[in-house]
């Protein structure tokens, strides 16, 4: 099957940020996104969620430019004060035009 290489951006964040981050993704050019509840621990410990604990894993498939913009924005605005990690992987998708 014909596949196209694209970028999968994954952001794992405290749940309180879900709304802001998903809005941000779409503002920067994403066409869709997936959110999953998650559990885990990191350098920052506490989460301000109800009930406390847990996180959200936000995934989005985008072109390389949008992926860069997302990472740059998250790094500038969220890394300093929030429990957030973000990373990019290369994925092979079918229907490549659906994502960019």
């Amino acid at each position: 099957m014909h596949t196209v290489p694209l970028k999968l951006v994954t952001i794992v964040a405290e749940p309180v940020l879900e709304e802001q981050l998903t809005a941000l993704l779409h503002r920067l050019g994403a066409r869709g996104h997936t959110v999953t509840d998650s559990r885990g621990a990191g350098s920052r410990g506490m989460r301000a969620s109800d009930p406390p604990g847990g996180g959200v894993r936000i995934e989005v498939v985008v072109g390389p430019d949008v992926a860069d913009r997302i990472l740059a924005h998250v790094a500038e605005h969220y890394f300093p004060t929030y429990a957030v990690i973000a990373f990019v992987s290369i994925v092979e998708v079918v229907r490549g035009e659906k994502y960019v």
């Binding site: 405290e14 802001q20 969620s49 406390p52 004060t81």
Partner: protein, 324 residues
């Protein structure tokens, strides 16, 4: 005093809470599924609203005016006193002090419910309009403290208007205010049809409350390890500040004409720290405030203190003040 304290410690609420803490201390895997926790908290808040609304239908506007006024006053005083004590004596930074103050300026609905149950058990029924007062105290303290923090820190994570919208449309406010309106509107006959399930003095409500307190114990227990990080000042703050705010609440409540039961519940409201509405609001508006400080003091220090010892103490204070 000692006998009241013992009586409170042996209440199902206090014992269930203690069991939850114990479960966490022995590292049990016990925890309530998140959806069950959310479901029970929705039930408790809705019942509180519905029952309060049904009873509000019998209250006169004149009887509630003064208590409502002192409640709003408490909502404006407690965040400021908390902020000043944290800044001046505790030497906390602006964002940390404002973040903690937002929690102490707002109210814990479960502490309110526990105080209601306690005063009922003591035979001093609080006034029927107390849940209405609860809705008045939920919001102002958070916003005042966040505004103090945002103004003094120069920058803020997001506009206060968004926070206002979030708190006013949050689960607590929709269920409480909405429940009050629905309970008020439906009339006595309709209330009787659902009272067996939603009566806050009924078996269903009290049973659900016990399960909820078990989970609160587990949550508080999981924060105990952070007590060391919070430090001795916050430990003192989390127990002394509630007593001061509680005494103020009992005094203002008595002045406004509340009976011993009502004044005790108002005292518990003033003494309590929010842990549902305040944390996300603070996290987004004052991102540099350390969540370990405000979550630990609200959940692991002040909440247990009020549930186990504070409420009987406020009852004693209110009784003394009213010479009853």
């Amino acid at each position: 005093m000692a006998s009241i304290l013992t009586q409170n410690l042996l209440s199902p609420i206090a014992l269930a809470f203690a069991l939850g803490v114990f479960a966490k201390l022995v590292r049990s895997e016990l925890q309530l599924p998140k959806d069950v926790y959310t479901g029970i908290s929705i039930y408790l808040l809705l019942a509180l609203g519905l029952h309060g609304g049904a009873e509000l239908a019998h209250a006169s506007l004149a009887s509630i005016a003064w208590p409502a006024l002192v409640t709003v006053l408490l909502g404006l005083i407690t965040p400021v006193t908390s902020y000043l004590v944290l800044r001046r004596i505790g030497r906390f930074g602006v964002q940390d002090a404002a973040g903690i103050a937002a929690h102490y300026g707002s109210v814990s609905a479960v502490t309110f419910i526990a105080a209601q149950q306690f005063t009922q058990a003591m035979g001093a029924s609080p006034e029927a309009f107390m849940p209405t007062l609860l809705t008045l105290l939920e919001s102002p303290g958070i916003h005042l403290a966040l505004a103090i923090g945002a103004v003094n820190a120069g920058a803020s994570g997001r506009p206060l208007g968004e926070t206002l919208h979030e708190v006013l449309t949050g689960r607590t406010m929709i269920l409480l205010v909405g429940g009050l309106v629905v309970g008020f509107a439906m009339g006595d006959k309709n209330w009787q049809g659902i009272a067996a399930f939603f009566d806050t003095q009924g078996a269903a409500f009290k049973g659900a409350l016990v399960i909820f307190l078990l989970e609160m114990g587990i949550v508080a227990g999981s924060r105990l390890a952070d007590l060391a990080k919070a430090g001795p000042f916050l430990l003192a703050f989390g127990t002394v500040m509630p007593v001061l705010h509680g005494a103020l609440g009992a005094a203002l409540g008595s002045l406004a004409g509340l009976g011993v039961g009502g004044a005790t519940v108002l005292a518990a409201m003033a003494a309590s720290a929010s842990y549902i509405a305040a944390p996300p609001a603070v996290r987004l508006t004052l991102p540099e405030a350390n969540p370990t400080y405000y979550l630990t003091s609200a959940l692991a220090i002040t909440f247990p203190f009020n549930i186990l010892a504070g409420i009987p103490l406020y009852f004693e204070i209110a009784t003394l003040m009213q010479g009853a």
